[in-house]
């Protein structure tokens, strides 16, 4: 107990600084939201340390983050431009917030034309392009594809839906489907370069259903809207419910595919201790992003797509799966590897989630006390 508290205490200090931004608000609603958020995240972190369970408590914060992000984002957009719909005038004004999923599509045009193919702003304003690039670079260096389970403000949605049923109704999924995100990545990067427009955002992004979308003013935009709503229902709700997997993240997201490569440039990985492993394949059954297969069990390491969510680590009955720091000895008894990973990962998640959770609490208090969220 004392050891757990001592390990959790530095996180309390860090989260206090990051959530408060170094200053406290005088607004009682904001103070209340800060206190609730601070307690919420630190209880979760303490439980992570105390129980040794990672994914169990990560998922609570991750799903809360996604839900609160949507509440906060939509109300913010309505305050900023009066609607969830983006008009062409909004685009010309650069009033579209930039999202990390666009990053892979922007790189070739940026290299060749020195321009970013997105109707946002480079710096300043709300979710500017340079600012989101900085977040992406920081998260990639610290966590690799851990971005998808510890930073992505959308991932919590299909993560949440994948946990509703106790058992999967669809069990056998051919692992060939896991190459689909690379195909989607290739297609959107090439088409974005050829058309100089973010084609995934325009045609395929399911999350536009719950954040923002183009104002329907033509048959083309109506078709785009039908496609992204259908993809949201299929990939974020229905398939996660039926398969108990994060199907949008694991089988479709081009950013996820792109982000897999960053697993090579950061210090953390998930390994399997061959001596302890009894090949029960529990990890293979629970991995939400199809990042374990027979080959990875034999090799003792996860596939490149691993998002470091920790679900396999929690589920392994023999404690053969463990977080590992590259270049250090392979020894699953070392809990210090896990703690060393949890600090940057949890701090990243808390800092990203904290503002949205606090904002959603404040908006909810406003709704309850005044009848309006604005």
């Amino acid at each position: 107990m004392v050891k757990s508290f001592l390990l959790a205490f530095p996180m309390m200090v860090l989260t206090f600084v990051m959530l408060s931004g170094g200053k406290m608000s005088d607004d009682p609603a904001k103070m209340f939201a800060f206190a609730i958020t601070f307690l919420f995240v630190n209880i979760l972190f303490f439980l992570m340390i105390r129980t040794g369970k990672t994914d169990k408590y990560r998922s609570i914060l991750f799903i809360s983050y996604a839900v609160c992000f949507i509440i906060s984002f939509i109300t913010h957009l309505i305050e900023l431009r009066g609607s969830m719909a983006i008009s062409e005038a909004n685009m010309l004004d650069g009033r579209t917030p930039f999202c990390h999923i666009v990053i892979p599509m922007t790189l070739i045009p940026a290299a060749l034309t020195k321009t970013i193919i997105f109707p946002g702003t480079i710096i300043g304003s709300f979710a500017s392009i340079a600012s989101m690039f900085v977040l992406w670079i920081g998260a990639s260096l610290a966590l690799g594809r851990g971005f998808c389970s510890w930073a992505c403000f959308f991932g919590g949605l299909d993560d949440g839906f994948s946990r509703i049923f106790k058992k999967p109704l669809i069990k056998n999924i051919n692992l060939k489907w896991t190459y689909l995100p690379y195909a989607v990545l290739f297609v959107v990067v090439v088409t974005a370069a050829l058309t100089l427009s973010p084609t995934y955002c325009e045609w395929l992004c399911p999350y536009k259903t719950v954040t923002e979308f183009a104002e329907v003013t033509s048959v083309k935009i109506l078709m785009q809207t039908i496609i992204f709503v259908s993809l949201f229902i299929a990939l974020v709700i229905v398939l996660p419910l039926l398969t108990k997997r994060r199907t949008q993240c694991g089988l479709f997201c081009p950013f996820g595919a792109f982000q897999s490569f960053t697993n090579k440039v950061n210090a953390f990985e998930v390994r399997i201790d061959q001596e302890k492993c009894v090949k029960c394949k529990r990890c293979l059954q629970v991995c939400p992003t199809f990042s374990v297969d027979e080959g990875s069990i034999d090799e003792g390491k996860m596939r490149i797509t691993c998002t470091k969510c920790g679900k396999c680590v929690d589920a392994c009955p023999k404690k053969a799966i463990f977080f590992h720091v590259k270049c250090t000895p392979l020894n699953s008894t070392f809990d210090r590897y896990r703690v060393l990973f949890l600090y940057p990962a949890f701090l990243f998640l808390t800092t990203m989630a904290g503002g949205n959770i606090q904002d959603a609490i404040v908006k909810t208090i406003k709704l309850l006390t005044t009848g309006s969220m604005f």
């Binding site: 005038a89 685009m91 004004d93 020195k114 210090a267 990973f341 600090y343």
Partner: protein
């Protein structure tokens, strides 16, 4: 050698927490540095391109952007030119302006905008001027995009 690798590994892992702190605490600074170092701008297909000419009418100004034909490597055959009129408060009910978009001292089109309804009409004097693509009510004023064909 193994000990050195272990020390380096732990150092690498330990640095991750500082990367996270620096990412958030220095986000504004790093964003500006990244923008300045790369010099990237928003694609002219969205921003309308740089302003090439400003005409001061007293109560309002006309901003003529450069023609946009930008492609990934070569220019495209079809493009547009954006004209902005600002601010709203100084605009007459109808603005009417002749534009020489390519600077050859020959007027290329006449554009007329009803600033109460946003309806615009165009008279082309040059074969490379196609039509009005759309009119846009922006934060500061009105904008019109005129479709163009690239001269061979």
């Amino acid at each position: 050698m193994n000990k050195l690798k272990t020390v380096l590994g732990y150092t690498w892992g330990f640095l991750a927490i500082f990367i996270v702190l620096a990412t958030f605490m220095g986000r504004a600074y790093f964003s500006r540095t990244l923008a300045n170092a790369t010099g990237v701008t928003v694609s002219p297909w969205y921003s309308g391109g740089e302003i090439a000419m400003t005409v001061d009418h007293g109560s309002y100004k006309t901003f003529v952007h450069r023609p946009v034909f930008d492609g990934l490597i070569w220019d495209r055959k079809n493009g547009f030119i954006q004209i902005n009129w600002e601010p709203f408060s100084g605009l007459p009910p109808v603005v009417e302006e002749r534009i020489d978009y390519n600077g050859d001292r020959q007027e290329d089109f006449l554009v007329k905008l009803d600033t109460t309804t946003g309806n615009a009409s165009l008279v082309a004097y040059s074969p490379d001027v196609v039509s009005v693509e759309n009119t846009y009510k922006l934060t500061k004023g009105w904008a019109v995009r005129v479709l163009l064909k690239k001269k061979p």
